[in-house]
């Protein structure tokens, strides 16, 4: 029997340069795109900082995560989701982000997550 296609969500929860997990999560997200998976991205908590525009990671010898994320081959722009409460707590708005994203309010978070088959939490 053919398995139905799994709905997958990558949850990016780390600041971009504080740990190697952030980069691993971005690599995984790009691979999901390359393998044409049914996959959305959710930037949660400190993870929203990965999307901050104006990053110059070259200064610390790292790959620019903001630039990598901006270049995500996104055909469905609605598939990038951002934790609205975290964004507010940092004093940021969607205008500060490298790409267009849909805000998810805390009250909607549980229902959103329960709609996926697999949750990759990095």
């Amino acid at each position: 029997m053919q398995n139905p296609k799994r709905r997958q969500l990558v949850i990016l929860r780390r600041s971009p340069y504080g740990s190697s997990l952030a980069r691993a999560a971005v690599d995984l997200s790009l691979a999901m795109g390359a393998f044409e998976q049914d996959c959305d991205l959710l930037f949660l908590g400190d993870g929203v900082l990965q999307l901050l525009d104006g990053q110059s990671a070259e200064a610390i010898g790292s790959k620019n995560l903001g630039k990598m994320l901006a270049s995500l081959p996104l055909y469905d722009i609605e598939s990038v989701l951002v934790d609205a409460a975290a964004l507010r707590s940092f004093g940021l708005t969607t205008a500060d982000l490298v790409l267009q994203a849909r805000l998810v309010e805390p009250a909607a978070m549980n229902t959103l997550l329960a709609g996926y088959d697999h949750l990759f939490s990095c």
């Binding site: 949850i11 929860r13 949660l44 908590g45 400190d46 409460a85 805390p106 978070m109 549980n110 229902t111 997550l113 329960a114 996926y116 088959d117 697999h118 949750l119 939490s121």
Partner: protein, 96 residues
């Protein structure tokens, strides 16, 4: 229905975000450094009691941490119980 596995100390953002996210149909399984949140009378326990999700604690980690005699038997599960929870919850979310 989500199985939240919480392996983070009660002071962490992972702990806070897990509790903010968990719903009434969910279960929170404390493991690793997460087990300390079950300490009776602690601030973290109060926060867990206010959360609508069901609470379980991984016995082996509670034992290692010295919590076994401080927790109610009814919330403790072994590794077999962890797998059983993953069977009844279609998705798991790791907080660490």
């Amino acid at each position: 229905m989500i199985l939240h596995t919480l392996n983070a100390s009660p002071g962490s953002t992972a702990f806070r975000d897990c509790l903010a996210t968990a719903g009434a149909a969910d279960t929170i399984l404390l493991l690793g450094d997460g087990v300390y949140a079950a300490l009776p009378g602690s601030e973290a326990e109060q926060a867990l009691l206010a959360c609508p999700a069901r609470l379980r604690v991984l016995e082996i980690d509670a034992r290692a941490a010295g919590l076994l005699q401080r927790l109610a038997d009814s919330i403790l599960i072994d590794m077999d119980g962890f797998v059983a929870l993953s069977e009844t919850h279609p998705r798991q979310l790791a907080w660490y």
